[in-house]
């Protein structure tokens, strides 16, 4: 384990990939829309983390500035997503992803 984290960037890369994979798995496995939504956010955060790590590694603050912007936009996006979620619940009485099956063939 010592060798694995010897380089600081490697640890961040490993962590970010792990978080991203957890997010993907969560999206594929879970049925609850709220959880899926959280998983999406987790993937986004993983990418943000990676961006920050590379920013530090390359000694270029632009990356970190970008992350702030992304987080601001993500906040706005989350509100819209949650609003849609509320509407889904009001219409179907459920937050299961299987309740939205009408759009087919």
């Amino acid at each position: 384990m010592e060798n694995l984290f010897s380089n600081t960037l490697d640890g961040y890369l490993f962590l970010a990939s792990l978080l991203f994979a957890i997010g993907v798995l969560g999206i594929l496995i879970r049925r609850n829309i709220i959880i899926i939504f959280m998983c999406v956010e987790l993937m986004l955060s993983a990418v943000n983390l990676l961006l920050t790590a590379f920013s530090v590694h390359h000694n270029d603050p632009n990356g970190q500035v970008f992350v702030f912007f992304i987080m601001a936009v993500a906040a706005a996006e989350i509100t819209i997503g949650l609003a849609i979620l509320v509407m889904i619940y009001r219409n179907t009485g459920s937050v299961s992803i299987d309740s939205l099956k009408k759009l087919k063939w």
């Binding site: 999206i27 594929l28 299987d98 939205l100 099956k101 087919k104 063939w105």
Partner: protein, 631 residues
């Protein structure tokens, strides 16, 4: 006088445009006047040119108006060649054309398509003038196509009759076959010589081609195929008898006097090329002689007054080609001239008869018309004598000149030529006697309606009969004290062939032919006037040779079986196999495949979001793997 030349074709063209645009609104009198005046003025201008040629002030003038095509490799000016040959043809076209225009004004006066008729008649005169005036093959070809088109429009003039339309189509298609040959010949000349100007082509030809080589034989044969189509020679002659569906003056102008002689004009014009190709000359001679005899035998038994004249035209055209094949170009054109006079006269005369008979064309229903139609009778008699070749009428001189050249080549050719002439005499007099002698055989209604045609129709008949009498004196041979003026007139364009016969032989030949012709006339008189025989009516049984002739050797049926039927059979086959089986099934198959795949593949749209997500992730992973493999 040369600065007015452009008016000669332009005036009929103006007439065509005026009548084409305003014709339906103008009164008949004005339409007729426009059409006749334009041609008359053209004729008068042509006469001044003829005067110039005769006085020697015009030898061979090329007048260029503008460049038609001017690129690197091709230079085609829009230009006219004024020389004795073209001026002579122009005189015939505008002169006979004017007389027939005048006649038509009377003949067509009751027709609702009066203006349309004159529109195309004027366009025809324009095209025909372009044909003979052009100074290169392309202008000639433009006119060549123009006359073909006008012929089509005028044969199918009474377009409500399907048979007439079919006749028009037949003429057009047969002409197209010939035109293709002409076009190929023209292009070959261009490839070999690099120009289509007469002056260049005929100047270069003896240098470029050696006499009798394949090149020149192929070129001349191709051009001759064009002449076969236009001038109704075997095997492309069957359209001409059918072309009689058009109004009679059209038959006179287009299908007897002018258009069908275009092939002869073309060969006389290209005589330099033909002289270089002896094989083609022999070929033309054989085709001409065969056509002359073949058409004459058919003419012997026809009962339609215009059909008889049509076959006689085919036969006479055969004679002209016979002369050309013998190398006697000037003689061929001499016969064109005399034939234009007497055949136009005969056709117009038959038109006058048909007019009087209220449209009846069957000579079995005529008879005894000489008392009712004295002027038509007299002029028709003159035309018949002229075509039979009795001196001093026009046909005698031109026909005997041809026969003399034939005898010089071989007595057998002469004998066959005489045979054709005798058959011509027989069927012409048969028709003449059946029409004008004996008792009237038509209906009571027709009898009460019989009348001589008005002056506007008889005047052209009288003028043409004078020309039919006097036309022959243009080319009185040396042996009869003349000096073949016509040959000398054209000698600048086409060489006069030597006639190396003893004067006594020549006189003997003439006497034999005249004597035989007289005998045949007497035979015809005995059969149809003294014995009052009338051809059997439709439907009665005929002897086998008679039936074969009456049905024109079943040539139409043969062509139908050979070409139309096979073509139709092939079309059917292609329709079933290629169209239905190939193209249709391909197109329908593509459509059905798209429908089927759509129907099937849409099932993949389950509406289940987790499936979509799963597939999306799978896709991304696949993409990543592929990218990894590629890099």
């Amino acid at each position: 006088m040369l600065n007015l030349v452009f008016l000669i074709p332009l005036l009929p063209l103006i007439g065509f445009v005026l009548l084409g645009v305003f014709g339906s609104k103008l009164p008949k009198f004005v339409s007729g006047a426009i059409a006749c005046t334009t041609v008359l003025v053209s004729f008068l201008i042509t006469l001044t040119l003829l005067g110039g040629v005769l006085s020697g002030s015009i030898v061979s003038e090329t007048i260029t108006y503008f460049d038609w095509i001017n690129t690197d490799g091709i230079y085609l000016p829009m230009s006219f060649l004024i020389d004795p040959l073209s001026v002579w043809m122009m005189t015939i076209i505008t002169g006979v054309g004017f007389l027939i225009h005048l006649y038509s004004a009377g003949y067509m006066s009751h027709d609702e398509g009066f203006a349309r008729y004159f529109t195309f008649l004027n366009l025809f005169v324009f095209s025909m003038l372009m044909l003979v005036m052009g100074s290169n093959f392309v202008v000639m070809f433009a006119g060549w196509e123009g006359v073909g088109f006008c012929s089509y429009m005028l044969i199918g003039f009474w377009f409500k009759n399907t048979n007439y339309n079919n006749a028009a189509k037949k003429a057009f298609i047969m002409n197209r076959v010939g035109d293709l040959g002409f076009l190929i010949g023209m292009l070959l000349i261009f490839v070999k010589v690099g120009s289509l100007e007469y002056a260049t082509v005929f100047g270069q030809a003896p240098l470029v081609f050696e006499s009798g080589t394949t090149d020149i034989v192929v070129i001349t044969l191709c051009l001759f195929v064009g002449a076969m189509g236009k001038s109704a020679q075997i095997p492309l002659y069957t359209w001409l008898p059918d072309a009689m569906a058009g109004p009679t003056p059209v038959s006179a102008l287009i299908h007897a006097a002018t258009m069908v002689t275009a092939g002869i004009y073309m060969i006389v014009r290209s005589n330099v090329l033909y002289t270089l190709a002896p094989f083609t000359q022999d070929f033309i001679m054989i085709i001409g002689l065969c056509t002359a005899l073949f058409a004459a035998t058919i003419g012997l038994v026809q009962n339609d007054i215009k059909k008889v004249l049509a076959y006689s035209t085919v036969s006479q055209l055969g004679y002209m080609f016979f002369a050309l094949g013998l190398g006697a170009y000037t003689t061929g054109l001499f016969h064109v001239t005399t034939h234009a006079f007497f055949k136009a006269l005969l056709f117009l005369g038959s038109g006058s008869v048909i007019h009087a008979m209220s449209g009846e064309q069957d000579i079995r229903s005529m008879g005894g018309l000489r008392k009712k139609l004295p002027i038509t009778f007299l002029t028709f008699l003159i035309g018949t004598i002229a075509i039979a070749g009795i001196p001093p009428f026009a046909g005698f001189f031109s026909k005997d000149e041809i026969l003399a050249y034939a005898y010089q080549r071989s007595p057998i050719l002469w004998a066959l030529g005489i045979l054709g002439a005798l058959m011509t005499t027989f069927y012409m007099f048969r028709m003449f006697f059946l029409t004008f002698f004996g008792e009237f055989r038509g209906t009571e209604h027709q009898r009460s309606h019989l009348h001589e045609s008005p002056l506007i129709m008889t005047l052209p008949l009288m003028i043409l009969s004078i020309l039919s009498i006097a036309g022959g004196f243009l080319g009185v041979p040396h042996v009869l004290g003349g000096h073949n003026w016509f040959g000398h007139y054209l000698s600048g364009v086409a060489p006069v062939k030597e006639l190396a016969l003893d004067h006594s032989t020549e006189i003997l030949l003439m006497s034999i032919s005249v004597a035989l012709v007289l005998v045949v006339i007497i035979i015809a008189y005995v059969i149809y006037v003294s014995k009052k025989q009338v051809p059997v009516s439709e439907g009665s049984t005929l002897t086998t040779p008679h039936r074969v002739l009456y049905n024109k050797y079943y040539i139409d049926e043969l062509y139908d079986a050979l070409f139309s039927k096979t073509l139709r059979w092939k079309s059917e086959w292609f329709y079933k196999l290629l169209e239905k089986g190939g193209i249709d099934s391909l197109v329908n198959g593509i459509g059905k495949g798209v429908q089927w795949s759509g129907k099937t593949l849409r099932m993949a749209q389950t509406g289940n979001i987790s499936t979509y997500l799963f597939l999306m992730v799978l896709g991304i992973i696949l993409l990543l793997i592929i990218t990894g493999l590629l890099v």
